[in-house]
Assembly symmetry: C2
Homo-oligomer: 383 residues x 2
């Protein structure tokens, strides 16, 4: 466990990249998808489930954890890895995005963002220095700078102000990070909304600061997919090729494939778990809404070729029943099945890049989603 953070590029195929991240808590194969463990738990999954689903790294939320149970308390209890019984790598976000999306009342000035806790109404200050301190107390392997994330649509002036503030905060985070325990990594976050020149300016300025990795933030906040992909294409030439590229808060299986095709190495998103809790299964055959009555008598499992046992074991009829009856087991099984599908998709992309056939993989995966697997129940498949 004494490894320092490193990133090694293993193979490329077009713009797609196959790599490996090493951290003090182990290695992560990239492109990688990080399930989100908002409140020190990936919702409705045990750490064993998360590992069984194939995840090698999870994300923790600074915003939630600083408010409850508190970073100092988690540190006193041995750090986030021990607290949540996840011995593998953890990346923590900086709290900036949640402050924007969850706090009704917030005030941003040069020094810090001040916001009202959604839990108890207390006013809380989060400065770049405090964001680094919190993530250090949590014991994260990968630490994110504090940034300001603006909602889209926004005026150019609003976006520019946030980009510049985020750059000054990036420098302060870098300075604060110098006293953090060795071996951890600090990532900068490219902002700039949907404004290409500002995105380029942000990426260039961050690159000069020499972070261990670079995230693209402020996307997947409601804009169309083509805007997001265009922003990735705009930014990527201005980021160092020898550092990991992390697209924050993304996305659908299709988003993941298209972003990897453009050079992204890391992702996090609540979609597999949140949508699983609402009855949606992600599969090789595309998304399947188990609330739909057509599954009520379907004895087939979701995917009898899945590596994840629950996807092979339980019938669609049973999953439909659990979802309709609002049983916790439905959320548990579908969250695990979805995280496992996301991991299978990432593994498929990694293998395809190594085999120099990423474009084929992309085409085949999309064709399978479109084809679906609806079989007339009167003539079951014979294969």
């Amino acid at each position: 466990m004494s490894n320092s953070f490193t990133f090694r590029l293993i193979e490329t195929n077009g713009a797609a990249r196959r790599g490996e991240i090493a951290t003090p808590h182990g290695r992560v194969q990239t492109p990688a998808f990080m399930p989100v463990g908002t409140q020190a738990t990936v919702k409705a999954l045990t750490p064993e489930d998360v590992e069984r689903a194939g995840a090698e790294i999870v994300l923790g939320n600074t915003y939630h954890l600083m408010l409850r149970p508190g970073a100092e308390r988690i540190a006193a209890l041995g750090g986030l890895h021990t607290f949540m019984n996840w011995p593998r790598p953890i990346l923590t976000d900086s709290g900036g995005f949640q402050v924007m999306s969850l706090s009704a009342l917030r005030k941003i000035d040069e020094k810090a963002v001040t916001f009202r806790s959604h839990l108890d109404g207390a006013m809380v200050e989060l400065s770049p220095e405090r964001a680094i301190e919190i993530q250090t107390l949590l014991g994260a392997d990968i630490i994110m700078q504090l940034d300001e994330c603006v909602r889209l649509p926004a005026t150019r002036d609003e976006i520019e102000r946030a980009v510049n503030l985020s750059l000054r905060w990036a420098e302060r985070c870098k300075r604060a990070f110098e006293s953090a325990p060795k071996g951890r990594a600090l990532f900068g976050i490219v902002q700039g909304g949907d404004d290409a020149p500002l995105r380029v300016e942000s990426a260039r300025a961050l690159s000069q600061m020499d972070f261990q990795g670079y995230a693209i933030g402020g996307l997947a906040v409601g804009e169309p997919q083509d805007v997001m992909l265009s922003m990735i294409e705009t930014v990527m030439p201005h980021l160092p090729a020898d550092r990991p590229h992390y697209l924050m808060g993304v996305g659908t299986p299709d988003d993941l494939i298209e972003a990897v095709a453009r050079g992204i190495d890391m992702f996090d998103c609540v979609m597999p778990t949140r949508n699983g809790r609402h009855g949606l299964a992600y599969t090789r055959f595309g998304p399947i809404n188990l609330k739909n009555a057509r599954h009520a008598e379907d004895p087939r499992p979701l995917d009898d070729e899945s590596d994840y046992p629950a996807a092979r074991t339980y019938s669609r009829a049973y999953l439909h029943h659990l979802v309709k009856a609002n049983e916790t087991l439905g959320a548990m099984l579908l969250s695990g099945i979805n995280v496992a599908y996301y991991q299978t998709l990432m593994r498929g992309m990694r293998d395809a890049i190594e085999a120099k056939r990423f474009d084929d993989f992309r085409r085949e995966a999309k064709a399978a989603w479109v084809r679906g697997d609806i079989e007339p129940l009167t003539s079951p498949p014979t294969a």
Copy 2:
């Protein structure tokens, strides 16, 4: 899987009995506790969790399953064992108790009970014959007669009417059961409220009908523990000693020990799972309310000698956090920990009966609950 139902008495110690039930889906060591799988799932647990917790048999609820997804549908999907992925024995109740406790509108006459579904408001009829048909469709290993369960307090006339109706329904169930698949068992249910002569009358009449097992119903419905225990003592001499004795819907760990001391062989209860979902852990040291702020910084696991991994792995501080944050994982872990503790308690009783030291076990278990395990955090235990 071709075993027919049998019950074998292995050892006795005072009135306490150590036995073994064989069913078409495997064996059950008694005294046994059955976790409740109301809607074809033991809430917040996978079947693997239930098995890992040590349970050998679960209970399914006829009332819930007949309304959703329906007995015919479960039969078409291969029966309840296949549907819920639980290959071991299943006992189903008859629906009588839930009709009493969950249906606002119900009408009982000689023929059947008619009630309004709490799901869609439809009027549903449940006759003794239909109760047997449903449980047969579900594929239960142990089938319960339909009975009428009165709320206490009730007048002697009300109780007597329900006892007599339940006896006539017992005969009809027995007749209907003759055409059920071989190997299954049908249990009669002793009613009589808190009226000792009526309890004796019910037990004697049922015994003459020669059921494969005998349940005591209509207790643990709000009466004091001493009333419940007194009713057990009243009934037991009038039940065949060579058949299993099942106390329905009970209870606390103390209830289980006291009932086993009086000759009960089987139990079911929602307490370990329901109270687990509400933050209460059952342990060797007595119940522990994890909502309590005193656990917020406690790094100790609930029981580092438990056979169940989650009871050894997670700190009380983490469980407290999950409960306070209303995270599903809290319900999952505590439900498993509680079912495992109940199973450990039953195994302890079985071992004690075999060793002819049940009274010692009873005294020691209660002393440990009273003693608790509160250690001053400034001087951790050295043992």
